[in-house]
């Protein structure tokens, strides 16, 4: 069976990465920003697993498992902080959060 060339996976992951990065930088809703972060991590995982298959080397899959775990931890911490913030400020908008500047 003809296998899919690795460049397709890399292209997919690059597109996902760009969507995620623009989401973090351009969107104003904090929850959407966190979701965009997940997109970036998933782009990385696609890359790692595709390279791992292509190189016939398990390290990439190992890396992907760690990266999935850590992404979960990161989002848990971020949501905890978000809940504390929303309780005090009643807003999800990054634009309204600007007591600190200078």
């Amino acid at each position: 069976m003809e296998s899919i060339p690795v460049t397709w996976f890399v292209a997919l992951s690059a597109i996902l990465f760009l969507i995620g990065a623009s989401g973090v930088l351009l969107r104003k809703n904090l929850v959407i920003m966190l979701m965009s972060l997940e997109l970036i991590f998933n782009a990385v995982n696609i890359n790692l697993v595709a390279f791992s298959y292509y190189l016939q080397d398990l390290t990439g899959q190992l890396f992907a498992i760690f990266s999935i775990t850590i992404a979960a931890c990161e989002v848990a911490v971020a949501l905890g902080i978000l809940i504390a913030l929303v309780r005090n400020r009643r807003t999800f908008s990054a634009d309204e959060i600007k007591t600190l500047n200078g």
Partner: protein
């Protein structure tokens, strides 16, 4: 990948194991303590760090540095950084005890414990010899610090600083990881020495290599707060409880340097021509931006945040030199920076009006010298050291960095560095002027605490000693530096 697990592997990572188990023990101890006895958790933390330091001491000059199937390396370079982190953590815990008590923080036990967990991540970062372990270390270090920044749960500023930090920090990890995945795709390995070998063979695509270097440099520069990836730093520094600010400023920056120097010198050295320009630009911009914007700040924690961006620039210059001499200069600089910054933060905590968390405007320092001669004098020593004025250690740190640059022929970078030092002198000396030349506007009510005195004493002695006789420590650093 087959690896047989031996006692050597366990002994090699014994400091990390002690720290991780010790942090768990602290959590358990916290359950059994009354609210006004929580400082015992911090004392246990200090004890755990000292135990780990002893374990690390026994590992100096090990014959077989690579352990855990080449995942970790226990060379003297990593040990030098580890001792810096131990020192920084012990001093920060001492700073925290009084702070947490007088600010009446909730969950004080967890406050101390999170610092120890973060220390564990720093140790892993310093020892990682594989992209996987380095990434794990970075996250293990960063996650507790996100929580610590947002620790004042009911203070909207603290929430806000933590939120900005966690989103930008996550974004930085994303960039770093994407760069790492590309490197893995190019070279087929995540082992640092393996990457070096594959890059030396020179069959990789230069475009993708440059892209992955840029992504990784961006990710690391986020962690060490270099321009233009510094946006989180001033907000997070100002919002965090002051001991956490000190911890972030010294320990997490130091750990980021430990990792970036190892990755760039050990793995990516064959691509030196590509990355030295990128890092030189980041370093020069950080020095100029950090030191210029610091002039406009009236909040001292924010000012120190911008000054720390500048300091990250100086230390990065050592990496741009790309030699063992440069990496030894970075090690020396980080240690000196730890001492002088923690000392300055100890004075800031001392100045804090009892019970109130804020109150850290630079105008509060007006006339401090009038009735509190000793406190003003030690603050002067720390500020002079941060500014890089000769008898203090900060001057020697910068001198070694500039010497490493000049020996490699980067005269222009050294000149730019010296120019920005002159800019930086302005805002440090302004506070000295406030302390000595102005009349006090009110009564000073300094916090009196034995722990703070210990921190200040250690920092003052360190700053003066390393400034006057830096030779022996620098020799130690040169021997431990990554040799090429």
């Amino acid at each position: 990948m087959n690896f047989a697990f031996s006692i050597q592997d366990v002994l090699g990572v014994l400091p990390e194991i002690i720290i991780a188990l010790g942090a768990c023990a602290m959590l358990i101890l916290d359950l059994f303590l009354e609210r006004d006895k929580k400082e015992w958790v911090a004392y246990l933390g200090i004890f755990v760090v000292i135990l780990a330091a002893i374990a690390s001491w026994c590992l100096i000059n090990t014959a077989e540095p690579y352990v855990m199937g080449r995942m970790m390396v226990i060379d003297n370079y990593s040990l030098f950084f580890k001792f810096t982190f131990y020192l920084a953590t012990i001093l920060t815990l001492l700073l925290s005890i009084n702070y947490a008590k007088s600010a009446d923080l909730d969950y004080r036990g967890e406050f101390y414990t999170l610092m120890i967990f973060s220390l564990c991540g720093m140790l892993v970062m310093a020892s990682g010899s594989n992209l996987i372990t380095i990434y794990l270390g970075i996250e293990l270090m960063a996650l507790p610090i996100y929580v610590l920044v947002g620790f004042l749960k009911n203070d909207t500023r603290s929430n806000e600083g933590a939120m900005k930090y966690v989103i930008l920090g996550g974004f930085a990890s994303g960039l770093l990881l994407y760069g790492m995945s590309l490197i893995y795709g190019l070279t087929g390995t995540t082992d640092l020495a393996g990457i070096n070998a594959a890059l030396s063979a020179g069959t990789v695509s230069p475009v993708i290599l440059t892209l992955s270097i840029v992504l990784m440099a961006a990710g690391f520069c986020f962690k060490l707060a270099g321009f233009p990836f510094h946006m989180w730093a001033p907000d997070a520094y100002q919002a965090a409880p002051t001991p956490v600010t000190a911890f972030m400023a010294v320990a997490s920056k130091g750990a980021a340097f430990a990792a970036i120097v190892r990755v760039f010198l050990e793995a990516l050295y064959p691509a030196y021509a590509e990355w030295q320009m990128i890092l030189a630009v980041i370093a020069v911009l950080s020095m100029f931006y950090g030191n210029t914007v610091a002039i406009m700040q009236t909040n001292i924690k924010r000012m120190l945040a911008y000054s720390s961006i500048g300091h990250a620039g100086y230390a990065l210059l050592g990496l741009v030199a790309g030699t063992g001499e440069g990496s030894a200069a970075i090690m020396f600089y980080i240690l000196v920076y730890t001492l002088m910054n923690l000392g300055a933060f100890a004075v800031i905590i001392m100045m804090r009006k009892t019970g109130k968390v804020a109150g850290d405007s630079i105008y509060d320092y007006k006339g401090l010298a009038k009735n509190n001669k000793v406190v003003a004098l030690v603050m002067l020593i720390f500020l002079f050291s941060l500014a890089g004025i000769p008898p203090m250690a900060g001057f020697m740190g910068k001198l070694y960095i500039f010497m490493a640059l000049i020996n490699q022929g980067y005269i222009i970078l050294a000149v730019l560095g010296i120019l920005t030092t002159a800019i930086a002198a302005f805002f440090y000396i302004r506070i000295v002027l406030f302390m000595y030349m102005k009349e006090p506007e009110g009564e000073f009510d300094l916090v009196k605490s034995c722990a703070l005195y210990i921190v200040i004493a250690i920092s003052v002695i360190g700053v003066i000693l390393l400034g006057v006789v830096p030779g022996s420590l620098m020799e130690l650093a040169s021997k431990a530096a990554l040799l090429l």
